[in-house]
Symmetry: C2
Subunit: 319 residues, 2 copies
Amino acid sequence: MNKLMEIVSRSNSIAITSHIDPDGDSIGSILGLGLALKQKYKNIKILIRDSLPSRYEFLPGSELIKKYDDIEEQKFDLLFVLDCGDEKRIGSNEILKNSKTIVNIDHHISNTKFGDINIIDASSSSTCEMVFSFIKDLNLLINKEVATCIYTGIVTDSGNFMYDSATEKTHLIASELLKTNLNKGRIIYNLYQRKSINSLKFIGYSLTNMKIALDGRLAIFKVTLDLLNEFNVSYDNIEGLVSYGRDIEGIDISVVIREQENGKVKLSFRSKDDDVDVRALAQLFNGGGHKKASGATLTASLAEAESMVIEKSRKFVRW
Amino acid sequence: MNKLMEIVSRSNSIAITSHIDPDGDSIGSILGLGLALKQKYKNIKILIRDSLPSRYEFLPGSELIKKYDDIEEQKFDLLFVLDCGDEKRIGSNEILKNSKTIVNIDHHISNTKFGDINIIDASSSSTCEMVFSFIKDLNLLINKEVATCIYTGIVTDSGNFMYDSATEKTHLIASELLKTNLNKGRIIYNLYQRKSINSLKFIGYSLTNMKIALDGRLAIFKVTLDLLNEFNVSYDNIEGLVSYGRDIEGIDISVVIREQENGKVKLSFRSKDDDVDVRALAQLFNGGGHKKASGATLTASLAEAESMVIEKSRKFVRW
């Protein structure tokens, strides 16, 4: 850690980034680390490829997040890449090539260790949990703003502490974070209690039309662009759909098969048991993730994708 | 606490009970305390009025729970009443009248302090959180079995740590409980991941037919006996329905109006903000509960109940 403190201290320009399609853990970790570093260092940029999903706009410092395209030169003495299992998911070759030192902090077991320094802990509930310790190691302050970001990442990536990855350590950290007097109600409200009526109607429709395959072991939700249009919702609004299938008794795998604009489909997998490894399943579609939560993208029609998913899931469910 | 230890020590018969229509916190707390007391004391009875809901059957010691009707005499030296805001909710006059010393441990702000000793902490996430401290004060062991019961009560009553009542102390306790190496996956599976397909189809139907009133501030779900029959589900299976309405942006109050066998209807209220006090609303129907979660029973048709709810909610929503 002394080595890292030294690298941070002597870097004249520091950037922090994360993966494309950012989630609560990626946004929480880049903002948490960014706000902490800003306590002591001046030239800190927080960059991602995509626009910030609106549900995270409430986070302190969210206005500091810029897109790669918004800055002149993606060239830094030090680049932190957070919560990003593989360099392609950064969404920019330039920033990776041009930055002198790359520090890769992540909790995905599949991490390709693309950094000059790699801090990988697959047992951690979230990258935010790791960033919490990292900030402390750097002797920076976990103030209310930093804590708000870190807490957001922990709750979103641990399923509100429900996943096994939320350990006694995770709860100790949560306890420390709450000591900063952060406004938890505001976090929960922004993450979970701002649903649109349309999105709930869409969930209602999807539950009514859910398909069960493999003798009650696989739940399938198909989401077409037409359907999203009809209900006037974006996929962002119905992210939790896949978990409804997982939570059915007897279901081993739940999948959302979602039509994309470009003739591709996205798959999102969930399982409720370590014995049903949907990361391995997603890898068959060149995807990745965690054992109980994974995803992939492929070029296929919805119907083709459905057939493939059923076929390939066959050897992952428990007979 | 010395006084209490003395009372426990000199009691030849001890019973532990909770409220009718038991939930995770009531079952978790009576089993947690029961298993802990059994480490040192022999004559411990765990009693409730109703049958144990099947989702709690996995809890260690659940086979020890008996119904009042199953025992010969409801007469004890010491009676613990846990998680029970008022003596009527115990569901037995006899046990209350015949027991020598009554210890009332609860986290409902409305508790009527009907015990000889009343330990009330409305700031606690759950009665289980209080029982955790109580067991430690009695110098009994929080082993894996006890921890499993206590953890179950905390997560069910704190909305998986989402409610404001889950404080830094709650997380510290959760951390200690996880140290016992309890099987969290099994708890989560039994509480949340054993839903029936029918219950999800019912949720789908209910979301599709949800009614919005008071200019987008009140969400109403009506559940008839016919509908439950048609979908072949019991209300137990769809308990979470009311929270779907709460989590809509702009909705201040969500209510489930549920037809009963006896010509009565049950109301279940939720709000997402302390400023919208559904406990006070429920009290207008002679009910009670917490600020953000409450309930009541009244004699009325569904349509009458709906009109009354809309009318009385009018001054509780935020205009």
